[in-house]
């Protein structure tokens, strides 16, 4: 896990150095009981899912709470192949990799121009981009469906990627705008005096400087786009595909699996499928915990 050096840390060490007395211990008991209880409530569903994904359906039926007698990794094979998780996984990557790249590049361009240049209509464009954060995605779904149909982009991966990019603008532009404003102005001016064009200055001086902000924005957009459910549900179906092929992305695939599950009763396969979807996001969190916690609150606090 990452190390956190927040102001709270120092006060913690200062206070835990205090002698413990009976009264203090007694007041701590209900506090800790509650914290432990909530920790169990949080961890238990996840842990139970991972454990159950390694057991057989028979074991699950008779002792839902038991530990695996032996590890049944074939559940994962079944989920990956028969339940098409493998294909959902690949579909998700096909959409998310290019959309992540474009989201960062285009948002950085907009954020930079808005943060560093003066021009007419600037405030309007800024509010236009950031205003998108106010509305729940579902409101745009019906017209978006027809726009995509009209542009022949519905049921295409590149179409979905472009929609992800567009819907990622509000948060990403807002986040990077704040970041570009904190970068020193002199560097940009020096580069331009040295004869670099505006475009060169952006790509060779400012973008490398903005790297920490870009990484944080990338993590957020990865989580958001990896987990996206509403947009693909409206825009992607598997019409016109051969039997056994699918255009669904992971969260959509999980939904179909869950509905199918009621008839097939392949519990362990379902658990394995959920684990496959869940683990990458948990890993990203554990690796980037510090950045995620800081980045999440930046937007909210300054907004």
């Amino acid at each position: 896990m990452s190390t956190l050096a927040t102001p709270t840390e120092s006060s913690e060490t200062a206070r835990s150095g205090k002698r413990w007395n009976i009264g203090r211990v007694l007041t701590q008991i209900p506090i800790y009981s509650f914290l432990v209880l909530w920790a169990i409530v949080v961890i238990y569903p996840m842990a139970w899912t991972v454990i159950s994904s390694l057991r057989t359906d028979r074991e699950l039926m008779f002792t839902p709470w038991g530990m695996p007698t032996q590890l049944h990794f074939e559940n994962y094979l079944r989920a990956w192949k028969d339940a098409q998780i493998g294909q959902f996984f690949v579909n998700t990557l096909i959409v998310v990799i290019p959309s992540l790249f474009l989201t960062l590049l285009l948002s950085a361009m907009v954020a930079y121009v808005l943060a560093r240049y003066e021009f007419r209509g600037k405030q309007f464009i800024r509010y236009l981009f950031m205003g998108g954060m106010m509305f729940p995605t579902i409101l745009a779904m019906v017209p978006l469906y027809f726009i995509m149909e009209f542009l022949h982009l519905r049921n295409t991966f590149h179409g979905l990627a472009l929609v992800y990019v567009a819907f990622s603008f509000p948060f990403t532009v807002f986040f990077l705008y704040g970041f570009f404003r904190t970068l020193p102005r002199d560097l940009m001016e020096a580069a331009i005096i040295d004869g670099a064009s505006h475009t060169q200055t952006f790509f060779q001086v400012m973008l490398p400087l903005a790297q920490p902000g870009l990484v944080t924005a990338a993590i957020f957009n990865f989580l958001g786009q990896w987990n996206q459910f509403i947009l693909p549900s409206a825009l992607m179906d598997s019409t016109g595909l051969k039997e056994g092929q699918t255009r669904s992305v992971l969260s959509q695939g999980l939904y179909y699996l869950q509905i199918k599950q009621q008839y097939t009763n392949d519990w362990s396969g379902m658990f394995a499928a959920v684990t496959i979807v869940m683990v990458p996001t948990l890993l990203v969190y554990v690796i980037f915990q510090n950045r995620i916690e800081k980045g999440l609150t930046v937007g909210a606090l300054k907004g």
């Binding site: 913690e12 920790a39 745009a140 779904m141 978006l144 409206a234 907004g303």
Partner: protein, 295 residues
């Protein structure tokens, strides 16, 4: 230095603005227009329907039912989430042993997709295999050992609200911790010298200085309460629960537009939802914005 600047700005903004206009601005604005039409998705058959769609709302029991359920979520979700998040944040900023572990754990649900959370809680609430039933079985409470949490009119909505609380609390905990951490320690020291107890300090100093983040939290959570689409879809298989006891506006509009193909009326519902969200956001942002303490 001015040379080429205009072209540069235009060049950088053109593609992003085009994408944003086509895929975001256009859908939201046309949603408002479609709401005034009678349209079943076949483009030739789009007719102006004036305010009829809106008039129909008043007689639509399903709409009123969904609105009532949204109101229930609106009253419970922000309150419970903020209370829990405040409690955790207050405990952790006071420096508690093991706070790093608890804090990391409590944040976990935030990074899971709502879809994964939906599936997880279908397991949790399952009447025979589920975690909840088995907990009651182990505790020896027979009546609840096979209780269908998502199949009962009374429990289905609270069960779904709990899922939202479960996922959202970690985020607001971190949000509150960040702003509590930025309150100058002199404030606390001065209060202690004046003889204020922990409780008094929390109510009189911490909470008022958290005004900004509390407001953010209230607005975000109200928007979330008006949405709930993914949770309701997953936990009720799109039905809205037994007797539609968990049907909310977003899931009703999805049903109407995409399952029944009534796009005109579906979009009317969307516009109502949008207006409710806007009004709530404005109220939320106005409330408590009079006096902001600067430090």
């Amino acid at each position: 230095m001015r040379h080429g600047q205009k072209r540069f700005i235009f060049g950088f903004l053109f593609i992003p603005l085009l994408l944003y206009t086509v895929f975001v601005v256009l859908p939201y604005t046309s949603a408002i227009l479609i709401a005034f039409t009678r349209w079943r998705g076949v483009s030739a058959n789009i007719t102006f329907n004036g305010l009829n769609n809106f008039a129909r709302l008043a007689q639509d029991d399903l709409f009123l039912n969904a609105l009532k359920n949204n109101a229930k979520v609106l009253l419970t979700l922000p309150t419970i989430t903020i209370a829990l998040a405040l409690l955790f944040a207050a405990l952790f900023t006071r420096g508690l042993r093991g706070q790093r572990f608890f804090r990391t754990t409590f944040f976990f649900p935030q990074v899971l997709s709502m879809a994964v959370v939906g599936v997880l809680f279908n397991f949790v609430y399952h009447p025979t295999l589920g975690i909840l039933s088995n907990t009651f079985k182990t505790l020896g409470i027979k009546e609840l050992a096979t209780f269908p949490w998502l199949g009962d009119v009374v429990t289905v909505l609270p069960a779904i609200v709990f899922v939202a609380v479960w996922q959202a609390t970690g985020f607001y905990m971190v949000l509150f911790m960040a702003s509590m951490g930025s309150i100058p320690t002199e404030f606390y020291e001065a209060a202690k010298i004046d003889g204020a107890g922990e409780w008094a300090i929390f109510w009189k100093i911490t909470l008022p200085l958290l005004r900004e983040s509390l407001r953010t939290a209230v607005v975000f959570l109200m928007i979330m309460a008006m949405d709930m689409f993914v949770y309701v879809s997953f936990l009720t298989n799109e039905t809205g629960g037994p007797g539609r006891a968990a049907q909310v506006l977003s899931s009703y509009l999805y049903q109407t537009a995409f399952r029944q193909g009534n796009f005109g009326y579906g979009t009317t519902l969307a516009v109502v939802l949008m207006m409710v969200v806007l009004v709530l956001s404005i109220i939320g942002l106005r409330a408590g914005s009079q006096e902001t303490v600067e430090f």
